[in-house]
């Protein structure tokens, strides 16, 4: 009887975690898109992250850290992708984003602003772009960002996006 109850509990917990992983899809996609400005690639990366996340759920120690954990998987997938594309180019070069960016359908002025912001983000070096999006879009702490990107916390201090 005890074992059965335990098994039920474990499996319902697993279902809950699965649901939470799936519910993170939009957030992961947004960060992925902000990093690569490529909707198709961001979609692929997101799919990879969720699949890996589900398969490795047992490795997640604290459930509250789910988002940070998924984003660190995203970071690794993104770097892997950059590395696999070409061996001779550096990741920095590959991570450069195109200057032109079609905006969403909206009022012309609002569209232009969005475009300019995305261009500015795209012009940032990869590391800064990642830090900026994680701090400002996902509102993660410097400590969490340092953990996700595997960098010293001191390097998370950065100048923000300048509003010209």
């Amino acid at each position: 009887m005890e074992t059965k109850k335990l098994l039920w509990f474990v499996s319902s917990q697993q279902r809950e975690m699965t649901r939470r992983v799936e519910a993170s899809r939009a957030r992961v996609y947004r960060v992925a898109y902000a990093w690569c400005h490529d909707a198709a690639l961001a979609d692929d990366l997101t799919q990879d992250v969720l699949a890996r996340g589900l398969n490795n759920l047992d490795q997640l120690r604290e459930e509250e850290k789910l988002t940070g954990w998924l984003l660190s998987i995203l970071h690794r997938c993104w770097i892997d992708h950059l590395r696999s594309r070409r061996d001779c180019e550096s990741e920095e070069v590959l991570a450069e984003l195109p200057a032109d960016e079609p905006g969403p359908d909206a009022h012309a002025e609002a569209r232009e602003t969005v475009r300019r912001v995305r261009v500015a983000v795209g012009a940032l070096p990869l590391g800064q772009r990642q830090v900026l999006t994680l701090v400002d879009l996902e509102e993660l702490s410097y400590a969490e960002v340092a953990e996700i990107l595997g960098i010293p916390i001191g390097t998370v201090m950065r100048p923000g996006l300048s509003c010209a």
């Binding site: 589900l54 398969n55 879009l137 410097y142 950065r158």
Partner: protein, 231 residues
């Protein structure tokens, strides 16, 4: 009266809520008397708002590549891989050894691959032997390409493979997910909805991904050069 100068990093950390109390107080005090500090803080906050607006979840572009099934059903490639699947199944029925299975996989991979290491197995009916063959295929492929991405997509009655109350393969699936990082088992939500509407209670295995429309997803993958095997 000397003016305290704050770096961009300090002001950013302030806006991010990352400063210790003492420093935070200092900047707060300064911003109330120093117009320039106040202006810089305002600009930083505005920058954050702009960024959130530019990447607002509801305004992000979605991948513009949903194609309907009819576009690729007629392609020679699709016919070819269905043929290959038939060969696999035939060999499976004759109890081919995993070794032989693996060799045919290599042959098939060379024949069809446009992007190495990406395979999608599609199951849309509830035949147990076909389910077993599909899992054998996945195991054999991953054994030779541990780093490959494999998706097992089920719709129609193939959903039974991933239904807790109906599948005979829950343990095997869990084992594959444990051993290989990039294998994904995916259930079609339209199929789930249809069975639920017919009064069935559908419980899916944990760790199963869901997609809205299996056929559109498969079309995208084929378009991207994934090897496609319909079992």
């Amino acid at each position: 009266m000397s003016r305290k100068m704050f770096s961009d990093e300090q002001l950013n950390a302030f806006v991010d809520g990352e400063l210790a109390a003492a420093e935070r107080e200092e900047i707060l005090a300064s911003s109330s008397v120093d117009g320039e500090v106040a202006q810089r803080l305002c600009a930083l906050r505005a920058g954050k708002d702009l960024l959130r607006h530019a990447y607002d979840r509801h305004a992000l572009p979605v991948p513009a590549r949903s194609r309907r099934g009819s576009v690729w059903w007629g392609s020679g490639l699709a016919a070819g891989v269905v043929l290959v699947a038939g060969i696999f199944l035939g060999m499976q029925m004759q109890r081919t050894t995993p070794e032989q299975f693996g060799h045919s996989l290599d042959w098939a991979s060379n024949f069809f691959v446009t992007q190495p290491g990406r395979m999608l197995v599609h199951l849309d009916h509830a035949d147990t032997e076909h389910m077993e063959a599909a899992l054998d295929l996945v195991s054999a492929y991953l054994e030779r390409n541990a780093n490959a991405k494999v998706e097992v997509v089920v719709n129609g009655r193939g959903l039974d493979l991933l239904r807790s109350d109906r599948t005979l393969f829950a343990e095997r699936i869990a084992d594959l997910q444990l051993r290989y990082d990039k294998v994904a088992f995916i259930a079609c939500e339209r199929a789930i909805a249809r069975f639920e509407m017919e009064g069935e209670r559908v419980v899916i295995l944990p760790k199963t991904l869901r997609i809205h429309n299996a056929i559109a997803h498969i079309a995208d993958r084929v378009q991207d050069g994934w090897v496609y095997i319909k079992v």
